[in-house]
């Protein structure tokens, strides 16, 4: 279980998270939506200790992430797969080396490592691309390799940072299917950060809207679709004139 408890985070003068609280239950997929620059990715990075909160806690399985020592943090990270917005593949390494780098930390035998990497590539339909380098891959393929690298670790939790951003609708749908397939096969608990509502409706059990540094509304897909909250409606319908609060767009103006 992942718990964000009253998290505050600022960068210089800019307050990004202001009392962000959210619970993610075992086995569920929670989608965090919000305007660009609203702090969705910042919240996600707290889960793996890439950022530390100024105030508040992020707990994973009862462990406060920012209080863990080096070994504790490493143990936690080995249970979490992180799919980055632009894949963050190591560009000096082949697809195969990208996949096996994390596995080398898990003390697997060479055979187990090979099997795990091949299974993960097969799950994202990229068998045969082992020797390619990231520069030779399309945007969609890079995201799939990023997903394969994360699931190769057989994590308990998967964190997706804007998994469909910058992709055409068909490739985005493929990524959505892969996320659903991954959850069905591996039974992982996931947090998906996105502003793509098609993706949010397709993969989410619950949807939480981050607005001005805190959760504005959280509920099932149906609850969010039927919401009467003007700010949430404005966002999910993508119509600036639909809601009363046009400030929201301005508040989220920076990436």
């Amino acid at each position: 279980m992942i718990v964000f408890r009253d998290v505050y985070k600022s960068f210089g003068e800019k307050e990004v998270l202001r009392g962000f609280s959210l619970d993610v239950q075992e086995g569920e997929t929670v989608v965090v939506i919000g305007y660009s620059g609203s702090g969705k990715s910042v919240a996600l990075k707290h889960v793996v200790g890439l950022l530390e909160p100024d105030q508040g806690d992020v707990e994973v399985d009862g462990q406060v992430v920012h209080q863990l020592d080096r070994d504790g943090l490493r143990g936690l990270r080995s249970e979490i797969g992180f799919v980055f917005q632009f894949a963050a593949l190591f560009d000096s390494m082949s697809v195969w080396d990208n996949l096996t780098l994390g596995l080398k930390r898990q003390n697997l035998s060479q055979r187990e490592m090979t099997e795990r990497a091949r299974e993960s590539l097969a799950m994202v339909d990229l068998l045969g691309s082992e020797d390619k380098f990231p520069a030779e891959l399309s945007g969609g393929m890079r995201k799939r390799v990023g997903l394969a690298r994360a699931i190769a670790l057989r994590p308990k939790y998967l964190l997706y940072d804007e998994p469909t951003t910058g992709l055409d609708p068909v490739t985005a749908a493929v990524i959505n299917q892969l996320m659903i397939r991954t959850r069905e096969r591996l039974g992982v608990t996931s947090i998906v950060v996105t502003h793509d509502m098609t993706s949010a409706y397709a993969v989410g059990d619950r949807i939480a809207m981050l607005y001005r540094g805190a959760i504005r509304q959280v509920g099932s897909v149906e609850q969010i679709q039927r919401t009467h909250d003007a700010v949430v409606r404005q966002f999910i319908e993508g119509r600036p004139e639909a809601g009363a609060d046009a400030e929201a767009a301005a508040a989220g103006g920076t990436p």
């Binding site: 990075k45 080096r70 990270r77 992180f82 980055f84 917005q85 560009d91 994390g102």
Partner: protein, 253 residues
């Protein structure tokens, strides 16, 4: 005025604190031998072997200039075989370490800062952390170790090439025979001439690599940030060589 000064001092102190934390983290990370051992050999080739052409280029021309310059300066008042003494001492003690160090501050320092900076802004460093690697053990320690070990080797070769270049120049352009040049070379030679230059080279290598890594990993803000930190790494690297050069002269000579 007072306010501006206090803000500036606070900024410097913050920077000193950040550098101190970085050095402490790198030292702690050096315990993870399994992570950096294999990567160090790769970096030794990149930092050392690939730096040889520029080091040899510098040494050849420095040797030529030194022999002609010394002959010109002696103006007949000093025996010409002292050309060998001057070329040998200057190459081993000062010019090979400093000139090669300055060149490598550009080549190696810029390479490290740009590579790590690009990895930082494209989230590859974050990805490394999420895969349970310590970026300091994986990226910093191998580069610092490789530079510390390979700079003395490159400098030693450059010093040898510079002396040979000075000898060839003396024999062909000055009225000096090979035995005379060798006599001058051996006249005041001490073993310290050699190790002094190599100790300096080791410290230059460590400083350039640490500065490159620090600025690379501190990069923020895309391509512009990478350019800015790379330039800063080269400038700071060159400055550190001159400061260390003076430090070793005061301490060891």
């Amino acid at each position: 005025m007072y306010n501006a000064l206090s803000i500036r001092v606070a900024g410097w102190l913050t920077q000193v604190g950040k550098v101190g934390n970085f050095l402490r983290d790198v030292l702690r990370s050096s315990k993870e031998v399994g992570t950096w051992a294999g990567l160090t050999a790769v970096q030794m080739r990149r930092i050392g072997v690939q730096s040889l052409p520029i080091a040899i280029f510098i040494a050849v021309f420095t040797g030529i200039v030194l022999s002609l310059l010394s002959s010109y300066s002696f103006t007949g008042a000093v025996p010409l075989y002292f050309v060998g003494t001057f070329v040998g001492k200057a190459m081993m003690l000062e010019l090979a370490p400093v000139l090669v160090g300055l060149a490598l501050a550009g080549r190696v320092g810029a390479n490290i800062a740009a590579e790590l900076g690009t990895m930082r802004v494209t989230e590859q460093v974050d990805a490394l952390e999420t895969l349970a690697y310590d970026p300091n053990s994986y990226l910093v320690v191998p580069r610092v170790l490789a530079a510390t070990l390979m700079f003395p080797a490159v400098v030693a070769l450059a010093a040898a090439v510079g002396i040979v270049s000075g000898w060839i120049t003396s024999v062909n352009l000055l009225d000096l025979s090979t035995p005379e040049f060798v006599k001058g070379l051996r006249l005041f030679y001490q073993f310290k001439d050699l190790w002094f230059g190599l100790v300096k080279a080791m410290s230059f290598g460590a400083a350039i690599a640490l500065i490159g890594c620090y600025h690379g990993l501190s990069t923020r803000g895309g391509a512009e940030g990478v350019g800015r930190e790379t330039t800063t790494a080269v400038v700071r690297g060159a400055e550190s060589i001159l400061v260390l050069d003076a430090f070793w002269a005061v301490v060891l000579l």
